[in-house]
């Protein structure tokens, strides 16, 4: 789901919740004569919980298969890019990166082909977040010392993509960035 759609979904749900709370509050201004309030509350509670359970079940079964771990899991990547992060820079290379003398290369990637980023860190935790030309976050993984996270992606649009650090890593976290080009 794109972030704008997510925001819209949230605003609709939050608006609906606000309306329900307001109506419940206003109903107490005109109480039932009997003062008994809601009729058959146990039955209503049961149905409310069951409907919520079904909605959550549907959401889970639709969204879990779309998790990034399963993206292009059965395909072989056309290109592998090694990424090594350190305070406060990213090193990108088509070859394995030597932590003792890390080197950075200009990265060009093919459009519509599967690319695998093998992301690690040489010091603290960092985030490896890819932003498109419209500055929208399109995917990410963490750069963690001692581990390699594999992020697979197919870039549909050619252009310049930015990489930003999205895991707080210290005093210059906000300027830690890199980029690559998709042709």
């Amino acid at each position: 789901m794109e972030q704008r759609s997510i925001l819209l979904l949230f605003l609709v749900l939050a608006g609906a919740a606000t309306i329900v709370f307001t109506l419940v509050y206003l109903s107490s201004r005109k109480p039932e004569r009997s003062g008994q309030g809601m009729s058959n509350p146990l039955n209503k509670r049961f149905w409310f919980s069951l409907i919520l359970f079904v909605i959550l079940g549907i959401f889970s079964s639709v969204t879990i298969p779309k998790s990034p771990y399963y993206l292009f899991a059965d395909e072989t990547p056309t290109k592998v890019i090694h990424v090594s992060a350190m305070q406060f820079a990213f090193f990108l290379s088509e070859n394995a990166i030597d932590p003792k003398s890390p080197s950075n290369e200009t990265i060009m990637l093919p459009a519509n082909k599967l690319v695998e980023f093998r992301v690690t860190s040489m010091d603290v935790n960092h985030g490896f977040a890819i932003y498109n030309e419209a500055n929208r976050l399109i995917g990410q993984t963490q750069a963690m010392p001692g581990y390699v996270n594999r992020l697979r992606f197919k870039f549909k649009e050619p252009g310049k993509y930015s990489i930003l650090c999205l895991e707080y890593c210290g005093m210059a976290h906000q300027v830690m960035r890199s980029s690559f080009v998709v042709k």
Binding site: M1, Q3, I6, L7, F10, A14, A17, T18, F21, V24, Y25, S28, K30, P31, E32, G35, G37, M38, R45, F48, S49, L52, L56, F59, S60, T63, I64, K66, S67, P68, Y69, Q87, D123, V124, N125, G127, A129, Y131, N135, L137, I138, Q140, Q142, M144, P145, G146, Y147, N149, R150, S162, L164, L166, Y168, C169, G170, M171, A172, H173, Q174, R177
Partner: protein, 481 residues
Amino acid sequence: MESTKSKKITAVWILTVLVLFIVSIVLGILMRLNQGGSIEQTPISFYTNMTTHGMTMIGIWFVAGMAAINYLLQRYIRTSFTINVVALVLTVIGILLFWSSTFIGKFHAAWTFLYPLPFKQMGAESWATLMFLVALTVLGVGWLIWSLSLMTQLLKKYSIPQAFAWQHFRKNPKFETPPFILITMITLVGIIACLISAVVLIVLFFAEYFSSGTFVNDALLMKNITYFFGHTIANEMLYLGLAVIYELFGEVSGRPKWKTTWYVALAWNFTLVFILTAFFHHLYMDFVQPQGLQIVGQLASYLASLPAAGVTVFSVFIAVYRTEIKWSLVNLLFFIGIAGWVIGGLGAVIDATISNNFVLHNTLWVPAHFHTYNAMGNVLFSIAFFYWFSTRQFTQNFKVAKYTKWTLALLLIGGIGFLMAFYIAGADSVPRRYSIYPSEFTTAAPLANLGAIFATVYLIAILIFFFNISKRCLKILSLPS
């Protein structure tokens, strides 16, 4: 029955929490103004403020909830006054040590202090990390003693099955566990579990610190322990607030007291399971984490909403819907707080969906949702308790005064505006925890300034509550023993 000294210590807790809250809000506003370009702080000053703001907020709302349940537990069991004082003293010492590590030592690894960042901070004093770890130890020891003491006292009166209300799973139970006792027990188990994990975490940090490089921790394991602790304590403080609502909502509304039934018992027992397993959602973007745990994270996060909505929120609706409820500031704050908790929960469930987290993780969507259920949920639960506690010592009249309606309006306008600035920026992919924003994020700075303005309106409402509540708390302190 509560004694005068128990009233006095509760009043001191309230005053401490409110003063620290106001300072922390000011730090938050300064952060947003810096992000908006309206003031200029060095990055280190910004990040030390951020670290102080986060840790102080978590700490104060945790102890606010603990102080409230400690006070109310005296209706059912005896609690230790000495331990309460020890917890207060250690909390104050811990916070002072922590503030020294940040404001003087420039410790700036954020309140999550994700390993190994505390060992690799540039620009911090060499002693700052040690001071931070000592502060954490002092706080952890104080809170663990407090939680264990309350649980021990509870188990002196109630057996384990009774404290967990398991007898309610059978027909016609002979003994009813008060809902307040059930929720307190469930919450204390979670708190003790997360504080023990904090002890393990601190020991591992100390082990590496003093090993001179011969012992190195595993980053993934440390991250799991950190979030088990951090996620759980941040959630349990909300549940402490809910315990207070279960105890007081009926009482202050002139309605029957809430009872434990089979579904209330079932819901809260399941809540314990979900709350201890939902923390995996903080590690979704660590693809090396076993995938089964990632799925557990999403399912537990989703399922946690079921008992919350189906039992607690629905119970509030039943208590209010078409009933002759006596509205006062206390139950009004509880009611609005529940709405804030629900709306923040919606934002949280959206973010706890792995495929959404892929494009939301560590953007401003994260502070957006947790500020919703804290600033507009948990804070209101606690302020309601503070107001009820401080007022009932002098009068039983909790009627909503005219000026109070304006204060509530300020709270709502300020709160909603400040949160919307976070949500919109989150949907615009603006990163969280950036002292200033890269120029390409054109909406980020104006939204930060707008957030600061609305947060100031929220602060004004909090200041009005503060003067009101603290005036009476100071009177309680001058009561003869």
